[in-house]
Amino acid sequence: MNEFKLLLRKDIFILFNNIKLILKNPLRLLPYTFVVGYFSFFYLRRGNRSTEVDTSQIGDLRDAANQVEEMNFALQNLSGGLTLLALIFLLFKLYQSTKKNVSFFSMADVNLLFTSPATASNILLYYMVRAIFPATGGAFLFTLYSTAQLNEHYDLNIFNLGIMSMGIMLFFFILSPIRFLVYTLNTKYNILPIIKNVVFALGFILGLMILIPGLMADKFWQGMFAWIGASWFDFFPLVGWSRGILTYLGHENIWIALGFITVYFLSFTLIVQVVLSNAGYYYEDVLESTKSNEEIKEKAKGKREASESTLSINSNKKLELKDFGQGAVALYWRNYVNSSRQDFHPLFGVYGLAFAGISIIFAVLSQFEWFSHHVIYGYLMTLIAIYFFAGMGRTNVGDLKKPYFILIPASWSSKFWNMIKLDIYQTLIFAFILIIPTVLIAKLSIGLILMFPLCMTMFYSTGFAIALTSAVGFDEGWDRKLIKPLIIGGVFLFGIAPAMGTGLFAYIISQQFVYGLLGICIGMGIVTAVMLHVTLDILSRLEFKEI
C-alpha cells in the first residue's frame, strides 16, 4: 500500500471540502479579509511614504542610531527579554514532553488509519513532515503582523519576510518532533529522570547566565541580558538559531541565515531518523494525547464545555461546608466549594501568592536599585490586563454552562451577583495582599492601596460583561463572531481608551502613577457601571446551549 498517496489524497479531499464550505458561506472569509485589510493598510501606507523619503538621510539616521545603541541598555534588554521568553517556552515544552506525548493525529486517524493495514512508520513520517505547512502559514502571518509597524524603517519584501518567517516557523515546527522523540525514548529506555535532570540543569545554567552578568554590572538591570542578548548566543540551539535567522533584517547576511536554516533541517532529519528507529508501534503512546488534543479543539470551538477542574490543585479535599442560604445563594455556595478544591483556600490561592510574590520581589529589588519603580507599575498594569481577559473568559466555564443557572427559582440580579460574588472577593483580596506590602516596601504612593484593587475589579467586571453581553445578546454563529469584536472594539474605543487616555493625561500632568491610575479608575467606573447595567438588562434573555 502506498501510504503517502493515500494520506495525500485524504488531505486534498479535506482541503477541497473546506474550500466548498467557504464558497457556500463566503461570510466566513470576512474575518480573514479584515486581517488582510489590516496588513495592507500598513504596507500601502509605507509604500506611499517611502517615495517621499530622502534615502541619504536614512544613512545618517542609522549612524546616529548606532551611536545611541552603544549606550542603549533598553535595546539590549528588549533583545535579551525576548530571547529569555523563547528560552522559557523551550524549557517548558521540553519539561512538558516528559509528562505527555505530542500527537500529530486526529481521532479519525486513530479510529480509521491506525486500525488499517498501513505501515505505522510511514503514517508517522507523513504527519511529521506535513506539520511544516500549518507552521509555515502561521509563522508567515505572525511575521507580517509583528513587522507591520517596522516597515517604515526597513525595506520589507517577500524575500526578507520569508526568511524571518522561517526563523519562527522552524522553531515552532521542530518542537513537536523533539517532544515526540523525548517521549519515544522514554517509553523505550525509561530515561525520564535523566531528561528531567537535563531540563532542570539547563534552566539552572540559563539562570546563572542572567544572574552573573547582572551582578557584574553597575546596576543589575543593565547587565542581566549582556550574555543571552549577545550575538554569540545565536549559536545556542533552536532559540539562538531562530534569532540568527530572525535578525536577518539587521545583519542582512544571507549566509548566516542560510547556515542556521541548514542546521535546523539537519537536526530535523536526525530527529526523524531517531524517532522512526525507536518509535515502533507508537499508537497507544499517542492515543491519550490525540484524544486530549481533540477535546481542546472542541472546547476552543465552543463545542465542548471547558472544564473547571483543569488547574485544580486540591481536588481531593474533603469538605463539610454548611449551607450558605436559600435560592441564588446556592450559586455562591457552589463556587465556594469549587474554589476550595481548586486551591488551598477558596479566597486566596497559590497562583495569587506567586503573582503577589513577584510584585513583592520587584519592590524589594527596587530598594537595591535592581529595578526602577516603572517595572512595578508595568507589572501592575499587566495584571490588570490579565484580569480583564480572565473576565472575558469567565463565560466559557462554570455556572453559565450549566442549566441550573437558568432553572433555579430566583431573580436574575441575585443569580448574577451570586455568580460573580466570589470572583469579586478573590480579586479584591488578591489585589490587597499584593499591593499593601509592595507599596510599603517600595515606598510607593499610599493611594495605590485603594486604586489598584478598584481598577482590577472594574477591569475584571467589564471584561466579564463584554463577553456575557455578546454571548447572550446575539444568536449562535457568524453574527456573534462578527459582532463580538465590534462590541469589544466599541467598548474599547469609546470606553476603555478614553479611560486610559484620562489616566495617561493625569500621569503626564502629575508624573505620578497613582494619579494616572485614579484617572483610569474614574473613566472605568463609568464604563463598568454601563456594562453591568446592560448585562443585567439582557441576562433574562440567556439561552442554554446544549453541547
Binding site: E308, I406, I547
Partner: protein, 247 residues
Amino acid sequence: MEFKIFIDLMLAVEGLVKKYNKQNAVNNITFSLDGGEVVGLLGPNGAGKSTTMKCIVGLLRKTAGEISIGGHDHLSVEAKKLFSYIPETPHIYDLLTVKEHLQFIAQAYSVKNWQEKAMELMAIYELDDKQDKLGRDLSKGMRQKVSICCALLPDPQLLFFDEPMIGLDPKAIKNTKRIFNELKAKGKTILVSTHLIDSVETIADRIMIMKDGNIIGNDTLTNLKSTFNQDYDSSLEDLFLELTKDE
C-alpha cells in the same frame, strides 16, 4: 400577562414557535397538561421534542407563543419553583461531589431536611457508595443518575424528563420506570420525551407524537389507534412508526 383560560392547567402551551435562523424547529404548537397527568412525548430524531421542552423550562428563548406553568408565566420565579427538568445530557459540576450536588439543589430550591431524601435517592440509584466522588470522575450513566436525583430532590409538582433513560444501566432504567409510577400515584404531572416507547406505553395517560416541529397526534393510546385505523392489538411502536413514516 393573562392566563385565565389556563388557570386549571399545570402546563399550557399556546402557539409555541422556535426558529433557528430561518428554520422552524417548533412550528406553532399548542397543547396542555392537566394536574396529575402523565404525557409521553414521542417523535423521530429532529422532530422538535427537546427544543419544545427546553423552551418550556426556559433554557431556550421561544420565538413566539405563550407558556404558563401552574398559571404563572413559565419564566417567572413562581413557575420555576413548581417544576424540575432532567436534560438528555447530564450537566453536573466537575468539582462537586455527588452529595454536594444534592446539597446545592437543596439550597437552590429551599428543600428542608434534604439529607434523608438525598440518602434515599442515592440508595435507589446506587450512588450511596459514590457520594464523595467528584462529578468529573463519574461515568456518563452515573452523571445521568445524579441529574435525576437532583431533579427529584425538590419534590416538584411538574417534571420534565428529556430522554431520561439514555446511558442508564438496566437496573436504573427499571428504577426510573418505578419512580414514574410512584410519581404518578402521588399525583405529579409528568411530560416525558423518550425513544424507549415501551417505557411510556403502560404509564402514559396520553401520547403526543411530534414530527418536523408539528404535533401530529395528541390523545390517549386507544383513541390514537382508532383515529389512525390501527388494530386494538397493535402496539404503540406500530402506531408511532406508521405516523412518523416518510410520505
